[in-house]
């Protein structure tokens, strides 16, 4: 029942770069929409969510790629899930202990990283089939793509919703568009961003 190794043959730097654009979890694969839409009310929230998720993703990929040959195929999902859940809880407790303000702003969405589908997805399609070095690069790449997407989304929503980015006033005297901080603003912004990314992709 040994799972076949499908080692990726890309040049090593491509393992990282592909997560930023061509396999960007948000703009290209549209995975992990729950945190994307829920917590990006400000640039800081988006960035911290991205960092927390990247931590969980990279740690899980590291562990999974190390033990990939030991885990029987039948229980791989259960094993991956336990590992993900452990790192999520670690991240949650760490944020609560060291960054209570961020933890409060992200609310229940830190524990919910556990159900973020692209974390399990990266284990299934990559870390469980590739050596540790490549798996970490892959996880960091996808994580960076997620951070980029969430911070961009958060910055736009914060800018239009309050005239600020990362809490710094950018447009003085801006009349806030309340809708951008509400869920509807998340859907609108994401829609326009994906459209823009598709337009850029098409011109290539």
């Amino acid at each position: 029942m040994e799972r076949r190794e499908e080692v990726s043959r890309r040049p090593w730097y491509q393992e990282y770069l592909k997560g930023l654009w061509e396999e960007n979890p948000i703009f290209r694969m549209l995975l992990g929409m729950c945190p994307t839409l829920a917590v990006t009310t400000s640039a800081l929230n988006g960035l911290s969510m991205g960092l927390a998720t990247t931590f969980v993703l990279t740690s899980t990929s590291l562990v999974v790629s190390i033990i990939r040959k030991l885990v029987p195929g039948q229980v791989r999902i259960a094993t991956f899930t336990v590992i993900i859940a452990t790192f999520v809880t670690v991240a949650d407790l760490f944020l609560k202990a060291k960054f209570p303000a961020i933890s409060k702003a992200l609310g229940p969405y830190v524990p919910l990283i556990v159900v973020n589908c692209f974390i399990l997805g990266r284990q299934e399609v990559f870390a469980s089939k590739n050596p540790t070095g490549r798996s970490i690069l892959d996880a960091l790449g996808v994580g960076s793509g997620f951070i980029f997407a969430l911070t961009l989304l958060g910055s736009i929503r914060e800018l239009l919703g309050s005239g600020e980015v990362f809490g710094h006033e950018v447009i003085p005297g801006w009349h806030p568009w309340v809708v951008m901080i509400l869920p509807a603003g998340a859907f609108l912004t994401l829609g326009f961003l994906v459209a823009a990314m598709n337009a850029i992709e098409r011109t290539k």
Partner: protein, 312 residues
């Protein structure tokens, strides 16, 4: 060669009516309402109209350029959206907010779906819903008609929160607080009748919509006239007249079949009464039409006529 011999595929019988003519008819039928709005709210109304039109027309033009399509400004649909949007906004709304509403109405409400005929929701109401969510305070600040522009509550808000009725004659003429083009029920009625009599809109929707509101509104009123507004009040107050004649009749976002149109009107009527009497908001016309827009494809699916010899 030109025009001598036309070779075309079917249909060969063509009506004289095209989009531009229908839109022109709608614009003409809106004139009484606009005149009343300008009369009551003076330059506020004119600024509002100009900003909304600038928003919708520029969004239409830029969407056509972005999509590399020929300009569709000539079909006047963007102009109709702009005028309708201006009529459902508070007169004192800042010009930039009205402009933004126009851009959202045509950009998000219509063009992202692929332009006229493809949109799910009434574009003017999408613009209004966006502004309502974006600027809740600006969108609920009302002024009394006249040169002074004193802040007042709308008749529906007075009814809902203070149980104070407004004289029906004021509602009919439009000498009350409210959106720029919704206050004068009489002017809108004249325009609406013109629209229906000329065949630009189907009478079934306004009839079933207004009828449902009147009948449902009458039931609680019959039991507790001190607590609930009369059916006449329901019909004349708020944006019902404007919504029923000019927005619920939008051919793109309403059912195509006759039965479906009755269902649309009845559904929207029920929603208005429910929201007005038991909801958190004083007025429900916008959401009633938007919600019924959303179920229109479903209504169409279940009311599609069976072709001769066909099977269900």
């Amino acid at each position: 060669m030109e025009g001598r011999l036309v070779v075309a595929v079917s249909p060969h019988i063509r009506a004289e009516m095209d989009t531009r003519k229908v839109m022109m008819g709608v614009l003409i039928s809106l004139v009484p309402g606009i005149v009343a709005g300008v009369w009551f709210f003076r330059w506020h109304a004119l600024v509002l109209l100009a900003s909304c039109l600038a928003g919708t027309l520029s969004a239409e033009a830029s969407a056509c350029i972005l999509r590399k399509k020929p300009s569709t400004l000539g079909d006047l649909s963007a102009a109709v959206t702009g005028v309708l949007l201006a009529m459902v906004l508070p007169p004192t709304l800042p010009f930039w907010a009205a402009f933004l509403g126009g851009v959202v109405a045509v950009g998000v409400g219509k063009q992202v779906f692929g332009g006229l005929g493809q949109n799910i929701f009434n574009p003017a109401l999408v613009g209004r819903a966006f502004l309502m969510a974006a600027f809740p305070v600006l969108m609920t600040t009302w002024v009394a008609p006249g040169p002074e522009a004193v802040t007042v509550a709308t008749p529906l808000a007075l009814m809902k929160f203070d149980h104070k009725a407004t004289p029906l004659l004021d509602l009919l003429v439009g000498k009350v607080g409210g959106c720029m083009g919704e206050t004068s029920a009489l002017a809108l009625l004249i325009g609406g009748l013109f629209l229906v009599l000329k065949g630009y809109a189907d009478w079934r929707i306004p009839l079933s919509y207004l009828g449902t509101v009147a009948v449902l509104g009458a039931i609680p009123w019959a039991f507790r006239p001190d607590l609930y507004p009369s059916p006449m009040f329901h019909l004349l107050a708020g944006g019902l007249m404007l919504g029923a004649w000019f927005m619920a009749t939008d051919p793109v976002t309403t059912p195509v079949t006759k039965v479906g149109r009755y269902m649309f009107g009845i559904g929207a009527g029920v929603l208005v009464v429910v929201i007005r009497l038991w909801g958190g908001l004083p007025e429900g016309v916008m959401y009633s039409i938007l919600l019924m827009n959303a179920v229109t494809p479903l209504i169409d699916r279940y009311t599609v006529p069976v072709p001769f010899g066909g099977k269900r």
